[in-house]
């Protein structure tokens, strides 16, 4: 996964609260292998009518080139399905700004190069007002923790370890492999001090 520290793209407002991962991708699509692409599943049941036709008013249908979402509070709550992040990433979304995120979703996002950035309630309202129904050119400066749409500039909060990971495009498995000796030490100690912690095998 390549790292990034600055992104320029179009931002749109998607101010619903509590957009859960069942909305981001309904469960019936989740058996699809990732190689087939998940873009078409993004927000499927909100975006399309029962006949599978796009709702013309839905923000992502009006602005297909958007890469930044300004979303309502508790975005990505619910299920741990990483497929919700795959759907966003495959649809070209690079950053989501919201007052709060589901914890598991936010971790999954960072693991896939997608920025889950927290903004204050006031800044959220400011961004929503300045965007209206439109799509505006916007800039994300990951290193400085700043987001701007035209003259409107707001700071955003991000866990420092996540910032580093996004910028460097780090893969956790590679990082962890450097600590194999520490892991092995812990494992050995555990076998001595808490042998009960290993499961009894089937009889």
């Amino acid at each position: 996964m390549p790292g990034w520290s600055r992104h320029d793209g179009h931002a749109i407002a998607f101010p619903l609260h509590n957009v859960d991962t069942d909305q981001l991708i309904p469960s019936r699509f989740m058996s699809t292998p990732r190689s087939q692409g998940y873009a078409r599943f993004l927000l499927h049941d909100l975006r399309k009518d029962a006949a599978g036709e796009d709702h013309p008013h839905f923000p992502l249908n009006r602005h297909r080139h958007a890469s930044i979402l300004i979303a309502g509070r508790n975005f990505g709550s619910g299920s741990s399905r990483e497929a919700a992040v795959y759907a966003l990433v495959d649809a070209g979304i690079k950053a989501v700004f919201a007052p709060s995120f589901g914890d598991i979703f936010a971790g999954n996002a960072v693991n896939n190069g997608l920025l889950p950035a927290c903004v204050s309630d006031d800044d959220f309202n400011l961004l929503i007002r300045s965007l209206g129904d439109g799509a505006e050119l916007a800039m994300v400066a990951l290193d400085r923790g700043q987001f701007s749409i035209g003259n409107v500039q707001v700071p955003f909060a991000l866990d420092p370890s996540w910032r580093k990971k996004l910028i460097n495009g780090w893969d956790d498995i590679d990082l962890t492999m450097q600590h194999l000796a520490d892991i092995e030490r812990h494992r050995t100690k555990l076998k001595q001090t808490a042998p009960w912690s290993r499961p009894v095998a089937d009889v």
Binding site: S79, S80, N111, V203
Partner: protein
């Protein structure tokens, strides 16, 4: 004098291998539970040519796609593909698999405790948000995404930042017909679906001590619906009694050693929490959701909220939910007709849940169709031994095999578009139980009451009839 520590502190430090400069801890994982949905993670380690680091600590369960009408649904190619995929990965990596015909099969969060895989003091991960359930045993248990599942498979560790600590004191006596489900829906309605975000919740107080393990699991299970990734309850005699003799639990000297270690797993008297919340159990009524977020819950005796009475942003959310749910502001929630009922899930699919529903349904008929899917094959067998299956069947409900079933609809058990379901599950999200499905969350006893009257109903008068 040592610094007083919370249960979270003790569990965290026992698993911490190292801390990075940025504050992330590398934690040892004692149990890793995988299911059909873990296919992305297996594909990921496959592509890097990595083996599973600790096959002995990794357990695979068929649940999300498990056909509850076994023969009919297994013919569905998508379902059999998902089940087959897990089988192949389990065989390849030599994992213990709880397959469809295994007497230990069931929903992963029911199986773990039931098999004695879940123990106090362990760190438990699973690629499923309701992994918080296992915290009921005093385990550090949390749900993770696919990239993290791949990481645990490959290294038996996980990077994590320590959450803040919240203590929820729940005191007093629950009224008849009121259960752990009602406590949970109540606090989530109070704090919001993101109310506990970033926190691990430790449930404490006299009500929690009185709860059975089933009730404690329901409470911890629903932590995630209030935004908390972790729910925790200090282990006690109730915990130990539940675990002793379970298939994978320690035995003999190992059991004694474990008991000695577990006694220390509680919050020290002087320890401080980032947040303390108090809940009065006496005041809780049977609670139901009316909307599309678990925070949209009210006592069954009250009326559906009116957006006119709310601030701008909130009003819109309420209006949206009412629209989707085909409900009118100001109407009493009681009496809302339902089309069907569902009993099951990792929240309320355990034996005690089925007993409380059966106590309402005995000698009564359901006015609407419904499905009962026990949380595991063991729960099913136990229920059949107690004759609960007869009660459900005679009431007119369908008695099916174990799995996630209509909680998420992946196995084909779905609620039809526009159909209203009284459900013992955990998520009333739009389309969760099927596209266009309308879900009302409630306790198993309340689901049974809805079945009996065909409407959302306060279960308490039905209990007074002396039939429960």
């Amino acid at each position: 004098m040592t610094v007083p520590r919370t249960l979270l502190d003790k569990l965290w430090s026992a698993h911490e291998i190292l801390v990075r400069a940025d504050g992330s801890s590398l934690l040892w994982v004692d149990r890793h539970l995988v299911h059909e949905g873990s296919h992305h993670a297996f594909a990921r380690i496959e592509s890097r040519g990595l083996p599973v680091a600790e096959p002995e600590l990794t357990f695979a369960v068929v649940d999300h796609y498990a056909p509850t009408r076994r023969l009919a649904q297994i013919a569905d190619p998508q379902i059999s593909y998902m089940v087959e995929n897990l089988r192949n990965n389990a065989t390849k990596h030599e994992l213990r698999l709880f397959d469809l015909d295994d007497p230990g099969q069931g929903i992963v969060h029911v199986v773990g405790p039931e098999q004695g895989l879940t123990l106090p003091g362990l760190l438990i991960n699973c690629g499923d948000s309701h992994t918080s359930t296992h915290g009921a045993f005093g385990a550090l248990a949390f749900g993770i995404g696919a990239t993290e599942v791949a990481h645990v498979l490959a290294t038996q560790t996980i990077w994590q930042r320590k959450p803040k600590a919240m203590r929820m004191h729940i005191d007093g006596k629950l009224g008849p017909g009121v259960s752990a489900k009602d406590i949970a829906l109540n606090w989530i309605a109070g704090l919001g679906a993101d109310g506990a975000q970033g926190h691990a919740i430790e449930y404490a107080g006299s009500t929690v001590r009185e709860l059975s393990m089933e009730g404690r699991m329901t409470l911890c299970n629903l932590s995630i619906e209030g935004g908390a990734r972790f729910g925790l309850i200090a282990p006690d005699e109730t915990t130990f009694l539940y675990l002793e003799g379970r298939p994978h639990a320690p035995r003999n000297e190992a059991w004694d050693a474990a008991r000695k270690a577990w006694v220390h797993l509680h919050t020290d008297a002087e320890a401080e929490f980032d947040r303390d919340i108090h809940i009065d159990a006496d005041k809780i009524a049977p609670t139901v959701t009316w909307g599309t977020s678990p925070e949209q819950a009210i006592p069954v005796t009250s009326t559906i909220p009116d957006p006119k009475a709310l601030a701008n942003g909130e009003a819109e959310a309420v209006r949206d939910s009412l629209d989707y749910m085909h409900l009118s502001a100001g109407d009493p929630i009681e009496g809302t007709p339902v089309d069907q009922v569902f009993l099951g899930s990792c929240t309320n699919g355990r034996i005690e849940d089925l007993r409380s529903a059966a106590a309402v349904l005995i000698d009564r008929k359901a006015k609407v169709p419904g499905l009962v899917s026990p949380g595991s094959a063991q729960v099913k067998a136990q229920a059949e031994q107690e004759g609960l299956d007869r009660i459900f069947i005679e009431a007119g409900l369908e008695w099916a095999a174990a799995g996630c079933s209509m909680c998420v609809g992946m196995n084909g058990d779905v609620v039809g578009p526009g159909k209203r379901c009284a459900s013992s599950t955990n998520r009333n999200f739009r389309g969760r139980q099927g596209p266009g499905a309308l879900t009302h969350l409630m306790s198993p006893a309340m689901v049974a009451a809805a079945a009996v009257t065909g409407t959302i109903t306060d279960v308490r008068p039905l209990l007074k009839g002396g039939k429960a």
